[in-house]
Amino acid sequence: MGSWVEVASLEELARRKRKLVVVGTQQIGLFLIGGTVYAVSDVCVHKQRSLTKGTVLNGQIICPGHQWAFDPQTGRAADREECQPTYDVRIEQGAVFVNPSPRALTSEER
């Protein structure tokens, strides 16, 4: 764990705006929102529906299961305690890399 993995090309994300990738045992959703790539666990903390099957509205990821709205940066669900794991993303020469260890939230994000 902890080593960066190449998971997609920026070009492909620009076209589809979201993509489900599998890294080891983890299902990770990539989202291109307002020019930034975010990586969030694809498996909803609520009832395990797939976030990449949902949509992005007003900068939030909306789960298709029961419309929980997640902040793509922090993974925090709007008006709730629950939090979706997020991952660090790095872009290099048009390739998207993900660090498969879930991020710890910084104190401002908490």
Binding site: R49, G54, T55, L57, G65, Q67
Partner: protein, 406 residues
């Protein structure tokens, strides 16, 4: 200034309102009075994962003891409010206790409608945790379950019963289920979903006569058929719990009538959730709906208005139903719509239906397409007039279409 609040009823609406009142700085007493003996809990799992046994009780609870202690919210459980006194903000409990406060929030919800003449040891309703515990014990492999009413609760019970290996017959009085919400075409899709999962759904047929023998319930239907079952679940809609308000001066009409701010006509008396018939500014009429999200949204709005803010509740109604391995969602109010546009494949239960009235999007119904519902919800709020061809065309991104119609 409002210092103290009594909430009548201790369900979803009450829990959200109590939390909002404290979070927004109400300093005085909050008393929540509920007639059930158990602490407030969520109902949606009672027909789904809790009923099937896949989930336990732990995830159901709403206002924990710890939270109530820390936030000084007084929960009076097992206490029935008999009467809200006329022109005042005081309530009388069944044991004669009088409680008074600066504001009252009526959040008494609904109860299942009874079917006259259908009574006995094998008759079940589903509203409370106690109901779910009792019914859960009946849903065994090989059992025969007869469900009366093919609405959302009836369908979810049928789904869970099938999942647990029971055989299921459903009687629906109308000639297709859910017509009043979804219209005929989508009602037929829901019927097909039930039948595909082995439910013996009989439409245009209901109970004529009910009796019990030593080892079965026997229902004679209006089509003259006799159906034997181990247990009979009645799911034919609900009745709002307005009785404590009779004679209080608050207007009652299929629920407690409130304006867009959840205010009744009596100063200091508010209502929200399943029991409230709320004036919805978007649809320009009073509507009473029985959805989880509405309970949350109105509970929050009522609390803010109690605190003196003037916040109208304007969100289009939204609900989901999980049944037969599918996720159904509906948003808005489709009554009177003149056009339905389908995106995707209704036959294979992977689609969204958009309901338009004079070109304005008013409602949407989706199976396994919750993402579309999020976009539709935004368009409905904006009274958008999306291009029907774009709605239908799967190559058009809905979010882009929505942005283009704003």
């Amino acid at each position: 200034m409002t210092e103290s609040v009594i909430i009548v009823g201790a369900g979803q609406t009450a829990a959200v309102a109590a939390r909002t009142l404290r979070r927004r700085g109400l300093g005085g007493r909050i008393t929540v009075v509920g007639e059930e003996a158990v602490r407030p809990y969520q109902r949606p799992p009672l027909s789904k994962d809790y009923l099937s046994g896949r989930e336990g009780e732990d995830g159901l609870w709403l206002l924990t003891e710890d939270w109530c202690d820390r936030n000084e919210v007084g929960l009076r459980l097992g206490a029935h409010v008999r009467k809200v006194h006329r022109g005042s903000r005081s309530v009388e409990l069944a044991d004669g206790t009088l409680l008074e406060a600066d504001a009252l929030l009526v959040a008494t919800g609904t109860r299942p409608r009874r079917l006259p003449g259908v009574e006995g040891e094998r008759v079940r309703y589903l509203r409370t945790l106690a109901d779910a515990n009792r019914l859960g014990a009946d849903l065994r492999p090989g059992a025969h379950v007869l469900v009366i009413g093919a609405g959302f609760i009836g369908a979810e019970v049928a789904s869970t019963a099938r999942e647990l290996g029971a055989s299921v017959t459903v009687l629906e009085r109308a000639d297709h289920p859910l017509g009043h919400v979804l219209g005929r075409r989508m009602g037929e899709v829901c019927a097909a979903l039930q039948r595909e999962h082995g439910v013996d759904l009989r439409t245009g047929e209901t109970v004529e006569k009910y009796m019990e023998t030593a080892d079965a319930a026997v229902v004679t239907t209006t089509a003259g058929r006799a159906i034997e079952a181990d247990v009979v679940v009645i799911a034919v809609g609900v009745v709002p719990n307005v009785e404590p308000l009779i004679g209080s001066g608050v207007e009652l009409n299929n629920g407690v009538v409130v304006d867009e701010h959840c205010r009744t006509g009596v100063a200091g008396v508010f209502a929200a959730g399943d029991v409230a018939r709320h004036y919805h500014p978007l649809f320009e009429r009073h509507l009473r709906v029985e959805h989880f999200d509405n309970a949350n949204g109105q509970g929050m709005a009522a609390a803010k208005n109690i605190l003196g803010e003037r916040i109208a509740y304007t969100a289009p109604h939204w609900f989901w139903s999980d049944q037969f391995g599918r996720n159904l969602q509906h948003v808005g109010h489709g009554h009177g719509c003149d056009e339905i546009v389908v995106r995707g494949q209704a036959d294979s239960f992977d689609f969204t239906a958009f309901y338009l009235h004079n070109g304005v999007l008013r409602a949407a119904f989706a199976v396994d397409r919750g993402g579309d519902i999020a976009v539709a919800r935004q368009m409905i709020s904006a009274r958008a007039m999306p291009d029907p061809a774009g709605l239908r065309d799967e190559n058009v991104d809905l979010a882009d279409l929505s942005a283009a119609t704003h």
